[in-house]
Amino acid sequence: MSLKAAERAHLLALADDEHMVGARHTNWIGLGPFLEEDLAFCSIAQDELGHAIGLYEILLADDPDRDSADLDGFAMLRDAADYRSCWLAEVDCSDWNDSLVRHWMYDRAESLRWGALSDCSDERVAALANRALREETFHLDHAERFMGRVAGADVTGKIAASINRLLPIARGLWDELAEGDPVATGFASRSVAELAAEWETLIADDLNKWGVDIILPDGNVSTGQAHRSIRSDGFDAFHADLQRVILLDTSAVW
């Protein structure tokens, strides 16, 4: 089955988000606040990378101009301008509180995005969406339980600072793509705008449930992202880091 332009763009944006956020999460391997959390967080990272692989496989199988065996090249070696990740997925979250808040905001959105693809007209996408949703149950449990225990008792104010920093960036998740919304062709069951509105409600409801009483910032980086065509500050260094091993020997078979 061949994908239409809006459908390809939609899947690529989701794939690049999963790739970038998964790779960013893996920075915590061996550094988690305690061993059990280290393992849980890295499992989530692996799951996100698994989702990216599944989507890249579909995109490559559907692209006559690319070798479907060159998944690593497609994932790692594109020009920066050819990625469609949002800034939330790319941004450096070197502080644990930032990573935790991103994980919660991202997985709240990711579950909605996969949910809108679970009845997708493309069976490959629907199957992947349903697998991802099963994994998202754990991701959301983890985010809710961890945040539920630390966000309300945020004596240092770090969680609040992370929410203020990341919420305007997170809204870029819903930046409309230049190719349009594939809800128009029935590919997705809900529009991106509809998911964005529900996401805002879920984020506010979570904070209310956890007793976090802060005024949420209004910002939105979508204008700067320009339909996800502009990479964030720091992307080039991150991208170079991702490529460091694969470029050691481009003829190697991994």
Binding site: L35, E36, L39, A40, S43, F138, D141, R145, R149
Partner: protein, 92 residues
């Protein structure tokens, strides 16, 4: 943080077996972490967790008494020896 002991059971007739232990702040987090630390590759179909403080631990001395009770080892050696003796007696 509290320590929890993890028990896993595979599908079918196998019994629950001790799989290890982990630390977690409370029972809800313990169950969530255990599914990742001990069962992330489908090592079990069912899982029990017990907070270590709730495990009844026997004094090793009450088990040591049983170290020297060969009469409780019913391996059939004595019966076999007697039957052999009887058989050989019949032959003579």
């Amino acid at each position: 943080m509290k320590t929890y002991e993890v028990f896993l059971k595979k599908a079918g007739r196998d019994e629950f077996r001790h799989a290890g232990s982990l630390e977690a702040p409370d029972p809800e987090m313990a169950v969530m972490y255990a599914s990742e630390t001990h069962a992330r590759r489908a090592e079990g179909a069912e899982m029990w967790l017990v907070e270590r403080g709730n495990v009844l631990v026997a004094d090793p001395a009450i088990l040591a008494v049983n170290d020297d009770k060969p009469h409780r080892h019913n391996d059939g050696a004595r019966v076999a020896a007697r039957r052999k003796e009887r058989r050989e007696g019949d032959e003579t």
